[in-house]
């Protein structure tokens, strides 16, 4: 039984919680209830997916965790490890779009968070180089975003999120706009980054297959207002790879998760 061992390894090493939401709601100015009430705990080092149809509030939840918008009620708790001066450093955010500055090079894009934190230049350069190595873009450091493919832009975005060495990585449907081949490759790269760096990852997606493939825990959300309707632990042999993608195990989980999504489809009340 290799799989529980791998999981409990994470459990013992990181007992604490990285993110904790309590009774969080979000009501937009228009009066639309977008979210909640929502309770969610994410352990440190855990890989969690928020899965649901568009408009179910999963991106809203992510933006609340990032502090990009404030909850209407409830509390959002983020663990801040001691010795970190800038709170912004503990979170890395990857948007659905690559969200790069088109007017400057890949290197400067990745350097941005450090520049905003006024990190010393030499240290910043070293960390930028390191982040670019992590995502395999070292030789494209001087290219401009428009010269890159969609997948490469997403890698730059990922490098930028990693450059501050955050504890929590928030990803908002990062690979949704990519073709399947590129997406699969980035899925594998993300998994290996997660294995090596042991970040807490909260991954928003509307793809059942992606969520099952990547995460330790899949949280299914329903829309209007966004709530958690089901939760699945994906226990399987680690590390995962292309074998897992074609395994019966994987297909079984996908079926179960898809089944949980079905009731939230339009046509059925509630």
């Amino acid at each position: 039984m290799a799989e529980p061992a791998a999981l409990s390894d994470v459990d013992t090493r990181t007992a604490g919680l990285a993110v904790s939401l309590r009774g969080v709601t979000k009501v937009y100015d228009s009066g639309v209830m977008a979210l909640g009430p929502l309770d969610l705990d994410v352990r440190q080092g855990e890989f969690v997916s928020l899965l649901g149809p568009s408009g179910c509030g999963k991106s809203t939840a992510l933006r609340l965790i990032a502090g990009l918008s404030a909850p209407t009620s409830g509390s959002v708790g983020i663990s801040k490890p001691a010795g970190q001066a800038h709170p912004g450093h503990s979170i890395g955010f990857v948007f659905q779009e690559p969200t790069l500055m088109p007017w400057t090079s890949v290197r400067e894009n990745v350097r941005l968070p450090l520049k905003l934190a006024q990190a010393p230049a030499t240290e910043a350069s070293a960390r930028v180089a390191e982040a670019l190595t992590l995502v395999g873009l070292t030789e494209f450091a001087d290219a401009y975003p428009r010269e890159l493919s969609g997948g490469m832009k997403m890698r730059v975005s990922l490098a930028r999120a990693l450059v501050t060495d955050p504890d929590i990585l928030l990803m908002d449907e990062p690979f949704a706009a990519l073709d399947e081949i590129t997406r699969f490759r980035l899925n594998n790269d993300l998994l290996s980054l997660w294995r090596n760096l042991r970040k807490t990852v909260i991954f928003v997606t509307h793809s059942v297959f992606e969520s099952v493939y990547l995460s330790q825990r899949v949280i299914v959300m329903t829309s209007r207002p966004g709530r958690i309707s089901a939760e699945f632990r994906i226990d399987t042999t680690e590390p995962r790879g292309e074998d897992f993608r074609t395994s019966a195990d994987y297909a079984g989980y996908c079926r179960k998760v898809s089944g949980a999504l079905a009731p939230s489809h339009p046509g059925k009340p509630g």
Partner: protein
């Protein structure tokens, strides 16, 4: 791909052109010019029109060469006025837009007056300015009044067109107001600012000319527009044409210089300056 590409003077970027089509595009306007000049000369000769009514192009060119000492001096005067007005418009427009962007109150209080200044014809304002200001200053102020508004409105548009996700990213990393301005808003607004400057360049020349005509005084510091008015009084029509030719050339040079600058600055990243390979 030739590296010496002319900057896109028109906004439209068509389908890839063959070199033959390019040649035609360059040649056609030249042929039209040559034909126009030839017809002009012909009409003047055949009808024996006296030069104080309509001089032929030959006579205009002759005047241009003979009067070059006077005309070149006037050209320098007008160009300097234009340049000063343009620089004032550029800095004034951008600075005002930045102020408006930082403070909504300031924008609400002052923006209507910027619009009023813009919609009131400058030729009507010029005589008043000439009463209260020294002539040279008044002329520059006129050039500034006409030129600053496109810079202001374009920069404002640019500062408000920042990518929302990028703005969120800056907030996430705790960027200060100055950092957001310097690393996000200004670079985002740059294409818009350059567009505004392109318009302002031509308008500054117009402002300078209008003010010179309104000022209408003689002396060492008189510009091309004044030369035109003066030559009109003296029925020196050839010199009027020559001065007009210089003004037109100055306008073209200003536009091309600004378009080229814009192209050079934006060519690595902005859609408007990208080549046709995409």
């Amino acid at each position: 791909m030739s590296s010496l590409q002319t900057p896109p003077l028109s906004a439209g970027q068509g389908a890839p052109e063959s070199s033959a089509v390019r040649l035609v595009r360059i040649l056609l306007p030249i042929i039209v010019l040559a034909a126009g000049v030839a017809i002009w000369e012909l009409v003047v000769r055949v009808n024996e029109i006296p030069p104080y009514v309509l001089p032929g192009p030959g006579a205009v060119f002759e005047t241009l060469v003979n009067d070059w000492p006077v005309l070149s001096q006037s050209l320098v005067v007008t160009l300097l006025t234009t340049l000063e007005g343009f620089v004032a418009a550029a800095f004034g427009g951008v600075a005002l837009a930045l102020l408006f962007n930082q403070s909504k109150w300031l924008e609400y209080s002052l923006f209507p007056y910027a619009v009023i200044l813009q919609v009131t014809p400058v030729i009507a304002i010029a005589p008043l300015l000439l009463i209260y200001l020294p002539q040279q200053t008044a002329v520059i102020v006129c050039a500034w009044i006409v030129g600053f508004f496109p810079v202001l409105s374009n920069t404002t548009l640019g500062l408000n067109s920042v990518d929302r996700n990028l703005a969120g990213l800056f907030r996430l990393y705790g960027a200060s107001r100055m950092q957001t301005l310097r690393y996000l808003k200004l670079p985002s607004a740059l294409p818009f600012i350059l567009g505004g400057l392109r318009i302002a360049g031509g308008l500054s020349l117009i402002g300078a000319v209008v003010a010179e005509i309104a000022a209408g005084s003689a002396g060492a510091g008189s510009g091309l527009a004044y030369r035109i008015v003066e030559s009109g009084y003296r029925l020196n029509i050839a010199r009027m044409f020559a001065a007009l030719l210089l003004l037109s050339a100055a306008g073209i040079v200003i536009y091309v210089l600004l378009a080229l600058t814009s192209h050079m600055v934006l060519r690595r990243w902005h859609e408007s300056a990208l080549g046709k390979e995409n």
